[in-house]
């Protein structure tokens, strides 16, 4: 399985993502934002970081990069595209997934482990994950998911919510919402479920000596689903 990780000026989780992808069997290529062509890929990842210093709105500049035309075409033809953290912010700015990510409700940069409940397993990202709840890491200032009422209705009607913030038992409640996101949304799909944007970083949970293992579960499962 071939993956591509896009590096934008200011990306800082691109190499961690590559380590994670390689660890679980992907042949990965790092792709520079100014390139026009995407290498042949089974998965494209927009990594976390602070592309273009978060100028104007997080992800807005990166969403207009040269490489993004190829990424958008790839996604629109059914290719798997995953945006993590700043990558999620870039995805919403392209319009590939609906909504926006606002400043966290309590204006704090949040850096901690959280639990997320998988809301939809009928897709290549979460199919066959045995767990209902995963422990991931978040580190963001703008992760407060917002969309219009009409968009929310569409998102719910199409079962586009991927994961919600919850407690360790999978209870999705306001008090387990770290940043003020509507409906505790931590990640969403496009309608077709080939594009996933999420704030948590699975690539930070791939080594028991450093953190947890739930990222390993996620990546192992992902590569199997793509085979």
């Amino acid at each position: 399985m071939k993956s591509s990780v896009i590096t934008f000026p200011g990306s800082n989780c691109d190499r961690d993502m590559e380590v994670a992808l390689k660890k679980f069997g992907f042949k990965n290529k790092m792709v520079w934002h100014a390139d026009a062509e995407l290498p042949k890929s089974d998965l494209v990842v927009l990594p976390g970081g602070f592309s273009y210093g978060d100028y104007l709105r997080c992800g807005s500049m990166a969403s207009k990069s040269k490489i993004m035309n190829s990424v958008i075409n790839f996604a629109n033809s059914g290719g798997m595209v995953m945006g993590i953290c700043n990558g999620f912010q870039i995805l919403v700015e392209t319009g590939l997934v609906p909504g926006v990510l606002l400043r966290n409700k309590y204006l704090e940069f949040i850096c901690k482990n959280v639990f997320v409940k998988i809301n939809n397993k009928q897709n290549k990202y979460f199919k066959n994950v045995n767990n209902e709840v995963l422990e991931f890491h978040i580190a963001h200032n703008e992760g407060n998911y917002f969309c219009t009422k009409d968009q929310l209705k569409e998102i719910e009607d199409n079962n586009q919510i991927a994961i919600n913030y919850c407690d360790e038992n999978g209870k999705v409640e306001d008090k387990f919402n770290p940043n003020g996101s509507i409906k505790n949304i931590a990640g969403i799909f496009n309608k077709e479920k080939n594009v996933l944007g999420m704030m948590p970083h699975p690539e930070r949970m791939i080594d028991t000596s450093l953190s947890g293992e739930d990222g390993s579960l996620f990546f192992k499962n992902l590569i199997n689903n793509l085979k």
């Binding site: 104007l56 709105r57 807005s60 207009k64 700015e93 609906p98 909504g99 926006v100 606002l102 400043r103 966290n104 409700k105 309590y106 204006l107 407060n144 917002f146 969309c147 219009t148 968009q151 003020g180």
Partner: protein, 80 residues
């Protein structure tokens, strides 16, 4: 021709920064502040001399990059 744009958050979008500014103003003794909403201001020097052409281009820029219409409104100010 220079064109100015003001971008504001839509009414029902939470503005945590505006809220903190309001609380600070209240704390400083400005009891007369009900609410603060923070926005953005741009000045764009375009190559156009025709006002309508310049405004039309800036309108396109707002839609494509400067504003996110899910959460923001924009207003193009008539050049003097």
């Amino acid at each position: 021709m220079k064109i100015s744009i003001i971008i504001t958050l839509k009414k029902d979008v939470l503005d945590p920064q505006g809220k903190v500014i309001q609380q600070t103003l209240n704390g400083m003794g400005f009891d007369d502040v009900n609410e603060v909403r923070q926005g953005k201001y741009f000045e764009i020097d375009t190559k156009h001399n025709d006002k309508d052409k310049a405004k039309a281009k800036v309108d396109e820029m707002c839609k494509k990059l400067l504003a996110n219409l899910v959460i923001e409104n924009y207003k193009i100010i008539d050049p003097k």
